[in-house]
């Protein structure tokens, strides 16, 4: 055991506080910047105290958007991001829990092949296979649609692996007891396995929601009309204006709004999230 000394405690706290400050300061700057008018940034100095334009900034971004940099109102983009993040999270969880169930509990021909094919997708993230994936999505006529935004990102193995590892820790006797109790494969899945996976599903949901929400490259590639833009793309478009100064106040307003849904998801599911990562309920 480590001895407890007051000065060690103090040191530990100092390190932790320093860490929090380093992480929190940029967020603070973003929040403060979103409360200033457009001219407060011309001086080159970043303001550190709240300004008076918060309400105006947020109202204009939510209702009108920033037409000069081709950004539609944020409401639509937030909605698109939400649809994308939720579809990816639910789609991945549904597909991966079913495939993990098949791989762990059923003996079928080419089971090992199926397993290794899933495994291989782990090594091929979207960025690597972006050109062929784009071609496939284009040929299927899915460009500029929600389906095109989400389906290529749903196919991946990480979640399958997590569920597989979890299923392997579920005692085999549980399945045998269920068989003797007259539960078929689907009933066992629904009545036993799914409830036991509850915390894992919650943890994965949080991770996948943020993964989907933060997607940037893929939505950029396949969306061409502003009605399908996501919020993360919007930030980039606004800060990347040609022949003008970026309007940092509204960019930061957008950033703060884009930050909120993941924060809400994390805070709301924190209890289950932590449980899912550290505890197995058996």
């Amino acid at each position: 055991m480590i001895d407890r000394h007051p000065w060690l405690d103090a040191l530990a706290h100092a390190v932790l506080i320093a860490g929090v400050l380093i992480v929190a300061f940029p967020v603070y700057v973003a929040v403060i910047a979103s409360t200033h008018g457009p001219n407060d940034f011309m001086s080159g100095l970043v303001p550190l105290l709240p300004g008076s334009d918060a309400i105006a900034n947020y109202r204009s971004m939510l209702t009108d958007g920033l037409s000069s940099s081709g950004a539609p109102p944020l409401g639509g983009m937030l909605w698109n991001s939400l649809v994308m993040a939720l579809s990816i999270a639910f789609g991945k969880i549904a597909i991966s829990i079913l495939s993990a169930y098949a791989i762990v509990y059923f003996r079928f021909p080419f089971r090992a092949v199926a397993f290794w094919m899933i495994f291989v997708t782990l090594m091929l993230p979207v960025e690597v296979r972006i050109v062929p994936t784009f071609k496939v999505v284009a040929d299927l006529g899915l460009l500029d649609s929600y389906a095109g935004l989400t389906i290529p990102l749903i196919a991946s193995a990480t979640a399958t692996f997590l569920f597989r590892q979890f299923f392997l820790t579920v005692p085999e006797e549980l399945m045998e007891a269920a068989r003797i109790d007259g539960a078929g494969p689907l009933k066992f899945f629904r009545d036993i396995l799914l409830p036991l996976s509850r915390t894992n599903i919650a943890a994965l949901f949080v991770i996948l929601f943020i993964y989907g929400w933060n997607q940037y490259l893929w939505p950029m590639m396949i969306t061409t009309t502003s009605s399908h833009y996501t919020i993360v793309m919007g930030i980039k478009r606004m800060s990347d204006v040609a022949d003008a100064l970026p309007q940092w106040n509204v960019v930061m307003t957008t950033v703060v709004l884009a930050l909120l849904p993941p924060v809400i998801v994390v805070v709301g599911m924190q209890r289950l999230f932590v449980k899912g990562l550290i505890e197995t309920e058996k």
């Binding site: 006797e173 549980l174 068989r179 003797i180 539960a183 036991l196």
Partner: protein, 350 residues
């Protein structure tokens, strides 16, 4: 309630490992059978084949005159109690008991009544709303038993149900299982590696070794007439003393030292002689065989004295009030000796 008929059953795993070889066994209606043997002897495999959790390579298993080889576990109308209880962790005790009944479409009022009855019998009524996690090991064991009882099965199958309990609880649960089985009169097959559990629970013991049946019999028959050196060394604590011996004209010699004479019905030659620890006792002054004491184990009511006769290790069980010495003279009860063939280890008829 049904008889179980096992005929020529074998189990060969995909890798060619032979877990059970040509086992035949008739279990009468209401009988309590204990399968006992060391780990890897095939006892659990045999039980799981009766349950339907393991396919049968050859032979047949019939429960109540119906061959069940191809019948799903749920349709065999058996109930199984697992070593780690296998309770559904996310369900309350009530739901754990009711789950199997619900799957069979038993009416709700009927389920309530059956669960209540089983809970009363096992004294788990206060816990019905709790989760298994909130129960102690003994209580979980009761719930697992309850899940078996509510099914009103043709047979109970127990797979080392007491191994996860502490020693004291094991003894009391053992008694309860016995009483419960007597009261319900349900045919039971119980797997254990603990010979004491086998002795105390069974109507008949089945000793398995290497996938084959070594002996079937009532506990005391198996104890007093072990069919082989394997059974002799497995059943009874302390294990039966086994030593190579030479028989010449009714005199039994261990390492050249004659320990008993006047033994009839045993042919001259090399044998394995078996003698229970309680059948070796100190000799009257001036008689007996020298016995070099090595160490002593105090059991309270008994004292186990480990030592040797002519270098062959033997254990005797003495009353604690008998005096001890480093070098003792002992006498063995000639009429209680067991003789086994040298080599095969089979019991020799006398």
């Amino acid at each position: 309630m049904s008889a179980i008929e096992i005929t020529g059953v074998s189990k060969v795993y995909a890798g060619g490992v032979r877990a059970v070889s040509d086992v035949s066994l008739s279990i009468a209606d209401g009988e309590f059978i204990v399968l006992v043997g060391p780990s890897g002897c095939g006892k659990s495999t045999l039980l799981r084949m009766i349950a339907g959790l393991e396919t049968i390579t050859s032979g047949t298993v019939a429960i109540g005159n119906r061959v069940v080889n191809e019948i799903d576990p749920a349709a065999r109308n058996i109930a199984m109690v697992f070593q780690n209880y296998a309770l559904y962790p996310h369900m309350s005790v009530y739901d754990n008991l009711a789950y199997g009944l619900r799957n069979r479409g038993v009416p709700k009022t009927d389920i309530d009544a059956r669960v209540a009855e089983a809970a009363r019998m096992l004294e788990i009524e206060p816990f019905l709303t709790r989760k298994p996690k909130q129960l102690s090991g003994g209580q979980r064991q009761r719930v697992a038993m309850g899940r078996a009882i509510v099914r009103k099965p043709d047979a109970f199958l127990f797979d080392e149900p007491l191994s996860n309990l502490d020693a004291k609880l094991r003894v009391s649960m053992r008694g309860e299982i016995r009483q419960l089985q007597r009261r319900l009169g349900v045919t039971s097959v119980y797997v254990t590696h603990d010979q004491l559990e086998a002795m105390t629970l069974a109507d008949r013991i089945v000793v398995l070794n290497g996938g084959r049946i070594e002996q079937v019999g009532r506990p005391l028959d198996v104890y007093h007439n072990p069919a082989s050196t394997f059974v002799a060394s497995f059943i009874g604590s302390p294990a039966m003393n086994l030593a190579e011996a030479e028989v010449t004209g009714g005199a039994v010699a261990i390492g050249g030292q004659v320990v008993a004479s006047g033994v009839s019905g045993v042919k001259d030659g090399q044998v394995i002689v078996g003698l229970r620890a309680e059948d070796i006792q100190p000799a009257a002054p001036g008689t007996g065989v020298p016995f070099a004491v090595r160490y002593i184990e105090e059991l309270g009511a008994l004292r186990l004295v480990h030592g040797s006769v002519e270098g062959r290790h033997l254990t005797m069980a003495l009353s604690p009030d008998l005096p001890l010495a480093d070098e003792m003279k002992v006498v063995v009860a000639a009429d209680r000796l067991h003789f086994f063939e040298d080599g095969s280890g089979r019991r020799m008829t006398r």
